[in-house]
Symmetry: C2
Subunit: 241 residues, 2 copies
Amino acid sequence: MSTKPTLYTSLSPALLHLYDLSNSVVVIIDVFRATSTIASALYNGAKCVIPVDSVPKAIEISKNIGGIAAGERDGQIAEGLQHGNSPLEYGRDFIADKTLVLTTTNGTRLLHMALNNKADSIVAGSFPNLSAICEHLIADKKNVVLGCAGWKDRFNLEDTLFAGAVIGRIKEHFNIYCDSSLMAEKMYNSHKKDLYSFAPMLTHYHRLVERFGLIEDIRFCLTEDVANVLPYYQDGKLVKG
Amino acid sequence: MSTKPTLYTSLSPALLHLYDLSNSVVVIIDVFRATSTIASALYNGAKCVIPVDSVPKAIEISKNIGGIAAGERDGQIAEGLQHGNSPLEYGRDFIADKTLVLTTTNGTRLLHMALNNKADSIVAGSFPNLSAICEHLIADKKNVVLGCAGWKDRFNLEDTLFAGAVIGRIKEHFNIYCDSSLMAEKMYNSHKKDLYSFAPMLTHYHRLVERFGLIEDIRFCLTEDVANVLPYYQDGKLVKG
C-alpha cells in the first residue's frame, strides 16, 4: 500500500462534516472574494487578517486593536463598515503594517466551521496564491481537504475550479479517491485556458459584475500568483506562512 | 421576464434542503443502482416498486402484500434479504405482475427526504429511462430539481452525469441559473461519448466492480433508454407514469 497522504475536495460547507479534518490541512477556498482578498492584504504587507463571523465583532475588535474593520454581506460592503471584500481595496499604501478584521458571507464562515471541526491546520487558497498553496501542501505531507466556500451552502464553480487547479499540480503526491476531486480537476482542465471567458457563465459573476460592476475584482481573483503568499491560520489570525 | 420554469441540480442529499421542492418535480437520481433498478423492474412489468427505508420494513411489507423484499447496504444484498439492488435481477420472467419492496443505501433514502421536504411530485431517473424523464419534465412545465443521491451524502459523478444528460436535452425549456447544473452539463458533454471508459475512474465503480464484480450492472446502468418508462411516485409506490 502507498503511504501517500489523502486528498479530498468538499464542494460545500454543508458537506465539510463528511471529512475527517482532525489530521488534515484544510484549504479554505472562497475565490470570489474572501480568500483572494486575504492573499492580497497579506501580500501587500498587512500584519495579519483576523477572520470574524459578525459585523459587530469586526467593529469591536478593530477598535480594540486599531485595525481596519471590513466585510461584506451578499456581495456588498456590510452595513456599518467602511471597507468591503474587494482585493483591490487593499493595496500596499493602505494596508501595509495594518491589521484587517474581515467578515464575509461564505469564506470566513467556512474557516470557523473548519476550526469547530478541529482541523489540524488551516490555510486560505485562491488563484492569486495558487503556487504558495501547492508548495505548502506538497512540503507538509499531511492529508488535505480542499474546502470550497460556495454560496450560502450551494456549490459554486469558481471555488471548484481552484480546487481543480491545485489538484492538477499536486496530485502525484497524494492518494485521491474522490469524485469531487476528479470532477474539479476535469473542469479546471477544460477551462484553464479561458477562465475569464468562462466566468460570465457563473452565478457569482452575475452577482458581482451585473449588480455591482466588479469586473476588475473578477480579473484579479482569476489571475494566478499575483499575490503569492501563504495565509496560515494561527491563534485567531491569518498570517504570512 | 421569461416565464419558463426553473431547473436546479442538488449534488447531494445534504444539499437538498437548499431548494424549494414544494412546487417542483423532484427527479431522484441514483444511477448505481437504485433508480436504474426501479426503471428495470417497472419496464419488465412489475406492478409497482415500494421504496422503504429499512430492511425490517421491506420484509414486513413484502410479507403482508406478497411482494419481493429486496435491497442493499453498502453495495451488497442486505442481511436478511434474498434479492439485491441489481437491475439485472429483475427480468420479465421474475418480476412481471409482482411488487418490488426496495430499500437501498442512498436512492430510496433520498426519495423519502424529498417526500419529507414536501416535493410537489417525484419521479425516478437513470440512463435506462433518460428519454421518458426528459419528455415528462418538458410536458409537465413545472419547476425541476434534479436530486443526486450520491454516496452517503458525498458527491458522486455518475448521478451528476445523468443530471447533465437531462439538462442537455431539456435546457431550452427552463431558466437555469445554477452552477451545479452548468457543471453537470459540461461534465456530461465531455464524457458522453465514452461513459464506459470513464466509469473506471469513479469511486462507485471500484466499490461495485472491484469488490463485487458487477461490471454488467455498470453497463446496464450507463445505457440510455433500455428501460424507458417513467417511474412516478403515488401513494407510497412508484408506478409506471
